[in-house]
Point group: C2
Chain length 268, copies 2
DNA sequence: CCCAATTTGTTCGTATGTATA
DNA sequence: TTATACATACGAACAAATTGG
């Protein structure tokens, strides 16, 4: 729950701007603007489950009162969280914690579309599920020691019945305690939705590094390509709050009929 | 020059919110919020050269007065333009029209970096320059009829002396009247800086479609790769204001030692 | 080195418009 | 229709960064 703080009066006499009780509980934020302190507090409340995914936040007036800031300052904080896809605002309804419905996962994290521009959600087929140990690459990506316990998941993604990508996913076992092949197979929605609803892990952003490689035997078999065919390799690190890595994924994509699409910067 | 408008008083009596002279000069914006009308007017002023790249805008108080809006509304408009990299704000100095210095071109439009994460600006070598006619692909990307006159430019990009990318650039001749190989070769900075300073064309964003292909003879020769090696093909359409396409570029990248990097969403 | 002027950044508060249930 | 919530717009005061004297 966000900490209640005493209201401050800005225009009069001159209460020192940095002396609010609110700031006192976040000493590391000493020289941070107030709206950013509020943003952090909201993030913290989302992380610790005070406001779970899909939940509505209190209205702006109430939130501002809770934090002891003006509604303008509160809105500034919420604006940034909305820009980061952490919150979703809906006029007339409220402000909600973003949840990993199919749309979000597809539009924010899935970048493959047909060469003619048709965009749709892939069908996912589970090819493998096993307990394993982090190899060097995955360990580095996850910021964990090599050899640590993990789950290794393999899936094949298809668009219009055509196999398009072969994904090898590595996630730390410590974060996903109790994951079983059955739970993974029976998930009703995307895998990021499963992370969120079953393990309380919300993927908020990711970075990807791409290169062209030749299909090895495994890739060729899974994607139905000739051995040695050029394929796109996408290495993704998915991050949760505080830029903590929670998933390492290597996608190998057949780009004969599909493209990886990158829309740079925001539209005007 | 931004059009001066009579100031409106919001809090009192009740002058109809939609009846300002400002709105009257932009009838298509009838149902657009005021801050967005201001944003469009600023964009227009930047496009038509009232505020050229690098120029300082009048200060916020003056701009707000010019448009006849409150400073909060003016700031809302400027905020969005800054988020779009059209304007750059500097506390204590002013607000400036973004210009295509090397940094901007590199950080906003160049996505190749060494596999170990080292990021630097490429050295560019001009391989070819000729007048040509738009082929089907380029015509579609540029939204122009095939066969129209264009310039076809070929460059090789190197990082630390190693050839990394082979770029084929197509730009409409009509937009770049007077471009010569010498002017291109003698440019002091990036090619987008040349577009901006010599032809008044500012690239504000772009979209890219990526796929893996096999190096043909030309690519193999230019990049020093074996024929058939897997390479990354990046097809970029660069856009200016109003999402008007101004450049079509096909980059072919040797990703043996470098990656194409995509940082998804904004940092928190 | 410090001071004053200028400009954006932050914060406050209030009133009204618009979408939703 | 009414109530609620976010969206837009107004205005004011002070903080912080920059520049030039």
């Amino acid at each position: 729950m966000p900490t209640a703080v005493t209201a401050r009066n800005h225009a009069t006499a001159a209460p020192p701007r940095r002396a609010s009780a609110f700031r006192a509980i976040a000493p590391e934020a000493a020289e941070m603007p107030l709206y950013r302190v509020v943003k952090r507090a909201l993030l913290q409340a989302i992380e610790d489950g005070t406001y779970p995914p899909g939940a509505a936040l209190p209205n702006e007036t109430a939130l501002a009162a809770t934090f002891g800031v003006s509604i303008g300052t509160l809105r500034h904080a919420v604006d940034e969280l909305a820009a980061d896809h952490i919150l979703v605002r809906r006029q007339g309804r409220g402000t909600f914690v973003a949840s990993h419905n199919a749309d979000r996962s597809v539009f924010q994290f899935f970048h493959i579309e047909r060469a003619d521009g048709l965009r749709e959600a892939p069908t996912v087929e589970l090819l493998g599920f096993e307990r394993a140990r982090l190899d060097e690459d995955a360990a580095q990506a996850l910021g964990a020691p090599a050899g640590e316990a993990c789950f290794a998941i393999e899936t094949r993604l298809a668009l219009q019945g055509r196999a398009v990508a072969y994904d090898r996913i590595v996630i730390p076992a410590a974060l996903f305690r109790g994951l079983t092949e059955k739970r993974l197979r029976d998930r009703p929605s995307t895998i990021y939705h499963l992370y969120q609803t079953e393990f309380g892990i919300t993927v908020v952003r990711a970075h990807e590094r791409l290169r062209a490689i030749s299909a090895d035997r495994t890739v060729a078999r899974v994607l139905g390509l000739p051995h040695g065919a050029p394929v796109l390799q996408v290495r993704r690190t998915a991050l949760t709050f505080g830029d903590k890595p929670v998933e390492h994924r290597v996608s190998t994509v057949n780009t004969s009929h599909h493209d990886y699409v990158n829309l740079l910067t925001r539209p005007i």
